[in-house]
Symmetry: C2
Subunit: 270 residues, 2 copies
Amino acid sequence: MTRLATALVLLPFLYAVIEFAPPEVFLAVAAITIWLACWECYCMLGVAGARPFKWLGLSGALAVVWSFSGFAPVFEPTLPLVALTLVSVAAAMGRREEPQAMVQAAVSTVMPVVFIGLALSYLIALRGLPGGRGSDLLMLLFFSTIAGDTAAYYVGTNLGRHRMAPRISPKKSWEGAAGGLGGAVAMAFVARGIFVPEMAWYHALFLGLILGSVGMLGDLAASVVKRATGVKDSSGLLPGHGGMLDRMDSLLFAAPVLYYYYQGFLQGTV
Amino acid sequence: MTRLATALVLLPFLYAVIEFAPPEVFLAVAAITIWLACWECYCMLGVAGARPFKWLGLSGALAVVWSFSGFAPVFEPTLPLVALTLVSVAAAMGRREEPQAMVQAAVSTVMPVVFIGLALSYLIALRGLPGGRGSDLLMLLFFSTIAGDTAAYYVGTNLGRHRMAPRISPKKSWEGAAGGLGGAVAMAFVARGIFVPEMAWYHALFLGLILGSVGMLGDLAASVVKRATGVKDSSGLLPGHGGMLDRMDSLLFAAPVLYYYYQGFLQGTV
């Protein structure tokens, strides 16, 4: 019930921001979301005993986000990435600890920015696609991944027999994965009908399959990190949904994959 | 003596490749160099007990290198980076090990590509700068960092009293660091005189100081990784000089810093 109530508040907000917000507002919402997801990741790493330079990494993540906005036309994402590696290494040297701890400090500072900050910044790249079709593709992305998550959960709970990854996430089953893929494909077709009717039907099929698969991979990856660090939810931020990272994990790979799918196959046709 | 003999073979080769080789040849030499440096890093990580997906990472590093070449105009470095994170995570999931080992496998695959592959690819970006001045700036880069290394070594050996980082590299002293900076500045002026005489003198001063400093930081970082993994030389590839990574470590940060220094302060003036 809490889960449903939170969803009923968040989904209309999400829809409004994606379809109607001016670019500055979308960028601000994306930046806060990504910032929170990285924050949760640094907290989990801290629980596990790593000592990342949290504020440095969070600043780096924001710089990566900014580099994806149209407001920074000559500012490519590689600049904040290499700047962050340089400053992280310098800061790690300054701690004068054991060499292993120094390497861990630098690596655990940079990693969340690459795996979360850079990955989720593609949401901004998608929103900024020419012709204003980015918003519609984002709706397709959210339809597919949310439907995939939800269908995987309900099919898995009710029909799950063969466990997929008992050591990582005991509740995940192959039946749930198949249900999730089916849900993702179904909702990709629904989203095509509503938002991008001119897109060929086979793109909806491929996108449903691909986004559903990499969505589950992101979900599984976040589970592995939580299991490895011994944390259950990334935070208690969203009642019934865990933390921001728990809700965004299926977008980690789906966002960049959709962006490059567009560049490769959809550009000029939608 | 071995060290000197190797240097006498390598330096004229380096000069010829930087100043006269066609872009394809420069790219090939840079690709081989970066590939070897990443290879050595994966070997060191293996010695330390990590189990990176070495071939996957090495392919990712080559894709990053390629994305920096003018031959791949629409292929930004972020594409191979996110593709590598996706495939590394998928491969790590496939190993079905303990969660900690999966996280370590994915992280140790991606990290060398970010810290070494991406960083050293800026050598290619520098070579490709408009107006053909990239070659001359690369000569300034090599003059400064090699002079910095060499001066730090000789001053440190002869005058070193105050040890800088006894736990990382017992031979490094503050006297050596000061000598290295002096050497880097001196050779930046010499390189300016020979290769970029139209550059204002204070740029030579700043570049000597900055490249000398971040060169030492890269050197120190490589020492930390070697110390953390318990490896002495990154490999025995270059007689008297250790491995490729040992020779390239002072360029890890110096190459991107020079590139962005050019973008920020030199563009249009040299």
